[in-house]
Subunit: 436 residues, 2 copies
């Protein structure tokens, strides 16, 4: 069969991983594929900056996208440059010329996925983006193919390695949030400006992509409500432990008859839930389907070689489609299927409250009333009584809707005896559901 | 596009799950596929025995395989009857007539997979068998497609739900092996004759299939060395806990330059290894590839609906191939690629020993010598000294080869002071490797 030629946009961490992995495993890859496969051209910013890479002699480095777009040999374009512009324009133009595209770009796919897929289908080209979620973990392909006979009802992901690393350090080494973040930055797990990670925005992009494929509807990162881990205190971590939980930043998407809800938030996860065992920079995606029940995919969510594994898995799938003349028939994302979102009040959840209150008689009664007025039942409560002026009250309440919890917070805020609502966090149920 | 018609062989637990899932999720399935899909005929032993099922009016039940083989409408045959004969003959004949086949039959695939795949390819038909390993967990498709760019070096599975249920009960409820087995039988998790499960033979079949796909070579269940969980004592479970491990029945396959090794055995798994968190009847497959590093797939390893999810995933993949006229081009198993097996001595492993010895001076020195003579180093040791006649010695040794451990056992056996070698078990390393 005919040789497959690739043009790659970017030779950074992921790009060089793709190059090296293809060289290292060429023998088995070509035997499986039944044809040679080569990276013919690479787009970079500065053609002289790549002396440190082991560039094969038959790979041409260029700083002109047209060298790749105009090359009729190149049938697959791999976009690992990142960012929205000009990645989007390059991808759309490649697709318009009938070239298939593999992208690792979560920012782009979570915002413009449907438009890209539409362009791919119109031009009988493939577009695949396994590496955009969960690094090397095979998740988008199994979600789209293996689980096709299921209605997916829940997707719960630990899909940001930076925050999971920070929370794991806080949990296992009793570190403060600040120290754990500084440590992560020193080790290269967190960026100098960590907002995208610790604020939950990176996870929001990935859950948008997972939801779009799993629920067969267009969910963008703008549709995801986002809460980060900045407010998690060592005390919350300790209380979680004592109550049999571990705190994780979860990306949660649900589909019910009422519609879809997608959110990112830190939550209490029961210690015997499979997501609780996901430590450090590892990622995992937990999925519930109406036939398969609950399954989980686990692995390294980032890194040069794991991400290259996902990129090349897509490349080889497309190469097989090219050999069989079936590109353009395998779209993962629906190009035009608007999502129906549900009222947040349909999503019931158990909650954890940590309050700093006056250490005085009658306080507990006042606080209990704040909950009772909206029918929110207290499941467990714990008060550290001592001789100081203030006391700490921790409680977990039975499942309640968003409005009820907002009302309770507002009432607590207005009580003179409540000095501070230190934290309010959701509690994931044993089943992966929020408890209800 | 043309309607897809299915013939199903068997309407038992899995067959009825397939039927019900297809009915329940028909709308989204047909929308994805772009055509109607129907189960047209079902082969059963007794055509009058299915009144309890909700049989659609357009499904014909028959006890004659020729009704299905001779029906030119039927392009996909789903084999969920189990057993080697006549399932093998039915599958081969369906393939010879150009019908694609989906099978959940691990016994058959682990013994005759290559012959079946050869027949499929020769007749431009597909053969898929996702449900034969790990029930509903997507594992064979991601292993074959998503991880295609990797050399797979290790596959470690908890792929028998019965034994994992028994070991979990022993661990969490301090039950004896006998009580846990009886309990599992009462609950339907273990059969009246539990040998295939507790003896490790079921797991051997599944690891043979995983190895064949992952290592691109023919590994049959006869190539897998097998050790069951019958000899696991509550004491072993307790010592494992104290040392920070949990005992699991593992199916382990490794590929090194020296060749392939595949085995099933109970082992100590570190408590912070992701496999340690796999409880009850759940299954998981942990895979190491030379690009992706370590990943894990987790879910329900059996049951009507999870297994139906896997069967229908295969059916819908083949249906897409039928629409694109590309069946016969997607063989997972290499039809003729004999595996090269390695000398068991290349597989080093850390081991746990539990010995019952005389409570007398000099005993420890004699025992230590048995290890030292083959260069096996003792890592940790624990002796319960009391006033009784015998003492219990527990130790974990540094990685050693098979022959060295056999020699040590033989020498211990010959010592007068050793009353009993109560158990010898392998220890899985933090990385998933046996410790080395």
């Amino acid at each position: 069969m005919e040789s497959i030629y690739i043009g790659i946009l970017g030779l950074g961490t992921v790009g060089s991983g793709v190059l090296n992995t293809l060289e290292k495993n060429r023998t088995i890859i070509e035997e499986d594929l039944g044809s040679p496969i080569r990276i013919k051209r690479a787009l970079v910013k500065n053609v002289n900056g790549y002396g440190h890479l082991n560039i094969p002699s038959d790979l041409t480095i260029t700083d002109d996208i047209n060298d790749i777009l105009d090359d009729p040999d190149i049938s697959i374009v791999v976009e690992v440059m990142g960012g929205i512009h000009p990645a989007k324009e390059f991808i759309l133009e490649a697709l318009r010329r009938g070239k298939s595209v593999v992208s690792a770009n979560k920012d782009l796919v979570s915002l413009h996925g449907p438009e890209i897929v539409k362009t791919a289908v119109e031009n009988a080209a493939d577009f695949m983006c396994e590496a955009s979620v969960g690094g090397g973990i095979p998740i988008l392909l199994p979600l789209q193919k293996s689980l096709k006979a299921n209605q997916i009802t829940e997707i719960v992901g630990i899909i940001n390695g930076t925050t999971n690393y920070i929370l794991t350090e806080m949990t296992e080494k009793n570190m403060s949030y600040r120290d754990a973040l500084t440590n992560a930055q020193k080790l290269g797990f967190a960026e100098a400006d960590p907002t995208a990670d610790v604020g939950g925005f990176d996870a929001a992009r990935k859950i948008a992509i997972l939801s779009s494929i799993g629920f067969r509807a267009n969910v963008t990162s703008d549709d995801v409500s986002v809460e980060g881990i900045e407010a998690i205190d060592s005390k919350d971590i300790q209380f979680a432990k004592e109550f049999g939980y571990v705190i994780k930043l979860l990306a949660v998407a649900r589909q019910q008859p009422e519609g879809i809800a997608a959110a990112v938030y830190p939550a209490f996860v029961p210690q015997d839930h499979p997501l609780a065992a996901v430590r450090g920079a590892y990622n995992a995606v937990y999925i519930v389907g109406n036939a398969v029940d609950d399954i989980m995919f686990y692995g390294k969510g980032a890194g040069s070689y794991p991400t290259a594994s996902a990129v090349l898995g897509d490349v080889l799938e497309i190469a097989a489609h090219l050999h069989h003349h079936t590109t353009g028939k395998n779209a993962w994302l629906k190009e035009n299927n608007p999502a129906q979102f549900m009222d947040p009040n349909f999503v019931l959840s158990s909650y954890y409250f940590r309050l700093i209150v006056d250490n005085a008689p009658g306080v507990l009664s006042e606080i209990s009333q704040c909950f009772a007025q909206d029918g929110v039942s207290i499941k467990t409560m714990w008060q550290r009584g001592n001789l100081e002026e203030t006391a700490e009250i921790v409680m977990v309440v039975y499942p309640a809707g968003d409005t009820a919890i907002q009302n309770v917070r507002a009432r607590l805020q207005n009580l003179n005896c409540v000095r501070e609502i230190a934290n309010v966090l959701r509690v994931l149920g044993e089943s992966g559901n929020d408890e209800r």
